[in-house]
């Protein structure tokens, strides 16, 4: 076997050869283990060439002058662990050391390894390798350096009531955050390694007796088909495995909230957790998942349903308000009451530009302000918002470039676009209103209607991992409406969403049994 062989599925047979060709001296089907410890070390160090953070530490045992070598990558191991778990026990028992006691005493994580081809991977995964004078085997101890930040609340997904924990850049902590919420033996975690060079670890998490096996298989298939040198960000994976990359709509939910992920897992969905990224993706999703926020379930259900209405309403406002304005102003001013027509006329009379240009100008200004304030420090960001929002807004009207009404329309639209509790969806909406504005400027209401038809048909034919994206509206599932347009009370949510075809559909929310009046 080759030196590079890893227990992963993503590299197909023929590619394995391709990879190993580059290190021909190591590639040999009759691999003979080297005899001395120095030779062994040399072989193991070979693929790393001359990197300076790969350190060898020699330990000489006092009793019989035997030499033991520790091999680790300086930058990614915790030296304190090495000291406490390896070196200290070694010195304490150095008098009567033999193989058996060695394995028993040193560390909980100690593993005996005989496969030398794995050594490279182990080193990269923050292991410390221990070489004794027995050339047929070596030991590995996991000694990762913990430099995690706190589980702070994600900046872009704040809630009023509910957990304020957020994912961080460490995959095992993230998995732990999910496990903390779902203490079920049925919660399965499956690791994948992506990227031939980066070896990014991706964990696929699902509840075994809920998630539909066909979806699990589909996700696995798409993940393993990724062949790339570098898979750096969740975005890379998203674009590699989503159904329609040309759609403006996000087909996976990205969230940094463990409670949101846990709730979705319990509905039978699958979560993808990435190493070095606080973003977790949830698949398969439908359009309405993007409109659910953990807050909804902590407020009273009537209020929760009201918020849902507001959010879905904001979808229409954000997409179509400027285009409606343009259509009315340029073509159909008969539609609005005559009193308002006069008002509009007086505000529009002195504007030299066509309404489309006005709207485009203002929309682009808002986008400029947004883009500028995202990158900046909070304090400067608010300055930009004031300068951009108030000063430009006020003086552009005074200068006579844009009408009063247009400022109102654009401002309402901008607020509406940010109501969606998902950044991706908000982006999609902001983008979609430009074609709609163009259509409204060319064909008025007719253009808007045609654009909406195309938009909704696109949603009808969009799939997220084989499940219809626009469910439960198209295809229509009446029972699933309870968690889309409404947020029904907990005891009404007795079934999981049909759309994602969970194995177990009933949710057994049997509460309020004491209430005999019902």
């Amino acid at each position: 076997m080759t030196f590079f062989k890893k227990p992963k599925k993503l590299i197909k047979e023929n590619d394995q050869n391709k990879v190993s060709d580059t290190s021909c001296e190591l590639e040999s089907n009759v691999y003979e283990p080297p005899q001395t410890i120095e030779d062994l070390l040399k072989k193991v160090r070979e693929p790393f060439s001359s990197t300076e953070d790969l350190r060898t530490h020699w330990v000489e045992l006092a009793s019989d002058k035997r030499k033991i070598a520790l091999l680790f990558i300086d930058s990614i191991v915790d030296k304190q662990i090495i000291q406490q778990q390896i070196l200290n026990p070694l010195f304490e028992m150095s008098k009567e050391i033999d193989t058996i006691s060695f394995e028993k005493v040193i560390s909980l994580d100690l593993k005996k390894q005989t496969d030398f081809t794995k050594s490279q991977e182990l080193l990269l995964l923050s292991n410390t390798l221990i070489f004794t004078d027995d050339p047929s085997c070596y030991y590995s101890v996991v000694t990762p350096e913990k430099v995690d930040r706190d589980f702070t609340e994600p900046e872009n997904e704040k809630v009023i009531r509910g957990s304020h924990e957020g994912f961080i850049e460490n995959i095992s902590s993230n998995v732990a955050l999910i496990r903390k919420r779902l203490k079920s033996p049925k919660l399965l975690v499956k690791y994948f390694k992506l990227g031939k060079e980066t070896h990014t670890v991706v964990a696929m998490i699902y509840v075994e007796n809920l998630a539909n096996p066909s979806h699990v298989k589909e996700v696995e298939k798409r993940l393993t088909s990724i062949e790339a040198d570098a898979v750096m960000t969740p975005g890379n994976v998203e674009e590699s495995i989503e159904d329609k990359p040309f759609s403006p709509f996000p087909q996976m939910l990205s969230t940094e909230r463990p409670d949101r992920v846990a709730a979705n897992l319990m509905e039978g969905r699958i979560a993808l957790v990435y190493d070095s990224s606080p973003t977790v993706n949830v698949v398969p999703v439908d359009f309405f998942v993007f409109y659910q926020s953990p807050d909804d379930y902590n407020t009273r259900w009537i209020l929760g349903s009201f918020f849902r209405f507001i959010r879905l309403f904001s979808f229409f406002i954000a997409i179509s308000l400027p285009s409606f304005y343009i259509a009315i102003v340029s073509f159909h001013f008969e539609v609005i009451p005559s009193a308002l027509v006069l008002l509009m006329k007086s505000s529009l009379e002195n504007i030299p530009y066509p309404p489309l240009f006005e709207a485009m100008l203002m929309e682009l200004t808002i986008e400029l302000i947004r883009e500028a304030s995202v990158r900046l420090h909070t304090k400067i960001g608010s300055t930009i918002a004031i300068v951009g929002g108030l000063v430009i807004g006020d003086s552009i009207v005074k200068a006579g470039l844009v009408s009063n009404l247009m400022i109102i329309v654009v401002a309402v639209t901008a607020i509406a676009a940010y109501i969606v509790p998902s950044n991706e969806m908000s982006g999609a909406i902001r983008l979609l209103r430009f074609p709609l504005m163009l259509a409204a400027a060319t064909l008025g209401f007719l253009g808007i209607v045609f654009c909406f038809m195309i938009l909704f048909f696109h949603l009808c034919r969009l799939y997220s991992f084989g499940t219809p994206y626009f469910a439960p509206i198209a295809p229509f599932h009446f029972s699933d409406l309870k968690d889309t347009f409404f947020r029904m009370p907990f005891w009404k949510m007795n079934t999981r969403p049909k759309n994602i075809r969970p194995i177990k559909e009933s949710q057994d929310n049997q509460t309020r049994k004491w209430d005999t009046d019902e």
């Binding site: 159909h332 209401f445 009808c460 219809p468």
Partner: protein, 364 residues
């Protein structure tokens, strides 16, 4: 998972959306010119006639399960004649889509865009149609279902007319005599066209045979009643002398209403009506493209879609005057009567005589 099949419930929406179309606006007027105030009875009569055709279509498709009319024709007629008839039917459906475009253009250029060149209005819808028909029947059915609530909005708009109606206008009933009513039902049948889309969509429908029949019949019943409601409402809103001078009574009626927020209800109505027109256009365009696929034996109908859209659009721009439009609608109406209403019955007879029948192939 086969993404092409639709459920029998979805078939209901496909038929309803294909049937309701351009006719809504002008039907009350065109029926009035023939059957006077008994026009609504003509429509009910037409609804009954249509049921016979539906029965024939259903029986025909039951004999050849999971096959569209374009598969069935060669089997009944034999190879060469079948190809000729396939061509004929494709052309027939193509001209129905053209007619829809022409009538839609007429209304739009009369009520919304007076100066926009016709070809812009026509090609916008044609291109939207192209996007739609490059999909599967299931996705179409989902969309048709999605937009069906809009019909309820139209219904409520018209219901508002009942604040100002005079039931006496409808009397005396049956004054024109049965023959005139029967004559009027010919025009009414043409406006009810759309059930013939079942010739293709039945092939994709799951469910038992009786359920399919029930669904199509019920769809046609709903549409007949909806149309009847519209006609009836306009006849009691306008007095008989007025209708003669308003070619689109529904719109004139709505134009009279104004609310505190919306001044011109008819424009909103028209915008929603466009969706209905588009769905019937799309339904027929899909049927046509299936025919084209069969004739050219294409692997997927997607390839033919853009060309078909362009062809349909170009043909629809040909009639320039109102007289020509009337001619076109007269001739296309006639061929529709023959090919969509009568010939399914004949085809069924032919199939029965020649005893052509096929067992259902259970596809995995």
């Amino acid at each position: 998972m086969n993404k092409h099949t639709i459920t029998y419930r979805q078939l209901f929406f496909v038929i309803v959306q294909t049937q309701i179309g351009v006719g809504i606006l002008s039907l009350p007027f065109s029926l009035f010119t023939i059957a006077k105030i008994d026009g609504w009875m003509s429509l009910l009569l037409a609804g009954i006639f249509v049921q016979f055709s539906i029965l024939a279509i259903w029986k025909l498709c039951e004999r050849f399960p999971q096959q569209t009319i374009f598969d069935i024709l060669p089997k009944i007629m034999g190879g060469k004649l079948g190809v000729v008839f396939n061509f004929l039917y494709t052309l027939h459906f193509l001209f129905i889509t053209v007619l829809i475009l022409i009538l839609y253009n007429n209304i739009v250029s009369k009520w919304i865009f007076f100066q926009t060149p016709g070809w812009v209005i026509i090609f916008t819808l044609a291109m939207v149609g192209v996007y739609f028909i490059s999909s599967t029947p299931r996705e179409l059915a989902r969309f048709f279902m999605l937009v069906t609530p809009l019909l309820l909005v139209l219904f409520f708009f018209i219901l508002y007319a009942y604040t100002d109606v005079h039931f006496l206008y409808i009397l005396p009933m049956g004054e024109t005599g049965f023959l005139t009513i029967l004559k009027g039902s010919k025009d009414a049948v043409i406006s009810l066209l759309g059930f013939d889309a079942a010739l293709v969509f039945l092939a994709y429908t799951n469910g038992t045979s009786t359920k399919k029949l029930k669904v199509i019949s019920f769809a046609s019943l709903c549409v007949t009643l909806f149309y009847c409601f519209i006609i009836f409402t306009t006849y009691i809103f306008f007095n008989p002398m007025e209708i003669v001078i308003v070619p689109e009574p529904v719109l004139y009626m709505l134009k009279a209403f104004s609310f505190k927020i919306i001044e011109r209800t008819d424009l909103i109505f028209l915008s929603l009506w466009v969706v209905s027109v588009a769905t019937s256009f799309i339904g027929y365009l899909f049927v046509t493209v299936k025919g084209v696929q069969k004739i050219l034996s294409l692997k997927h109908h997607k390839k033919a879609a853009p060309y078909l859209g362009i062809v349909v659009g170009i043909i629809a721009t040909i009639p320039s005057s109102k007289l020509e439009t009337l001619m076109w609608s007269k001739y296309i109406g006639m061929t529709s009567l023959i090919l969509s209403v009568f010939s399914p019955i004949l085809l069924l007879l032919l199939a029965a005589i020649r005893n052509k029948k096929e067992k259902e192939v259970i596809s995995s």
